[in-house]
Amino acid sequence: MAVLHTTNKSPLQTRDLESCLRLTRPGSGILLMEDAVYGALRSTEASARLAQAAKDRRIYVLGPDLAARGFTPEEVIDEVEVVDYGGFVDLVAEHHHVQAWV
């Protein structure tokens, strides 16, 4: 079982997502939540890096955090899967532990 990494800071304002991507192994899961959801948007400069990482890692974004910030799942890049809170719980259960990049 792989590790689930969570990150909650905007990749346009901090280097946390970058560190997370650098230090995760192929096969890991990465969940973008809170302000990290901006990184999954088609429209931003950060999404190319994320699309690249998605080639050997599963990347998820938390839907309620997207909606709160005025964005819809259609605005998320194809490489990233939108999950709800139930999906978050499933991810935690499916991975052997959770690493939070706070």
Binding site: S10, E34, Y38, A67, A68, G70, F71
Partner: protein, 131 residues
């Protein structure tokens, strides 16, 4: 002494207050706290302007639906600022572009300014408050 006289006369100087918003909403408390202080400033009849730069531009994104995260959606307050005579809202063009946003994505009318113009405006203020 009426407010008008006080503002136009020399005995009570109206100061220029600029609030610089650089953080996304909801992830931290900064955006909401800035709004609270802005409204206080307006109550004292000061010359108030707001700047949105970096992730601060996300504060003005249309369509915020916060029910799912159990937080108050304070974005309608930006539309109410007009009622408090706060009409100077500036957005940095570079920040909008970096996020793939246009003025149409924002929930209030704003003036979009480049960094150079914005820095001149900042220099002209009496008080700058950063959030």
């Amino acid at each position: 002494m009426s407010d008008t006289q006080a503002n136009e006369g020399g005995d009570r100087k109206v100061k220029r207050f600029m609030f610089v918003n650089r953080k996304a909403p909801y992830g931290t408390i900064y955006a909401l706290e800035a709004l609270e202080v802005v409204l206080i400033g307006a109550a004292f009849d000061q010359d108030v302007s707001l700047v949105f730069a970096d992730d601060g531009v996300y504060q003005l994104k249309k369509g915020q639906q916060t029910k799912g995260i159990g937080q108050k959606n304070f974005s309608p307050t930006y539309r109410a600022l007009e009622d408090y005579d706060i009409e100077k809202l500036y957005v940095e063009r570079e920040s909008l572009q970096a996020r793939g946003l246009s003025p149409d994505d924002l929930l209030v009318p704003v003036r979009v300014l480049g960094s150079a113009e914005l820095s001149v405006l900042m220099d002209e203020q009496d008080v700058l408050l950063s959030f």
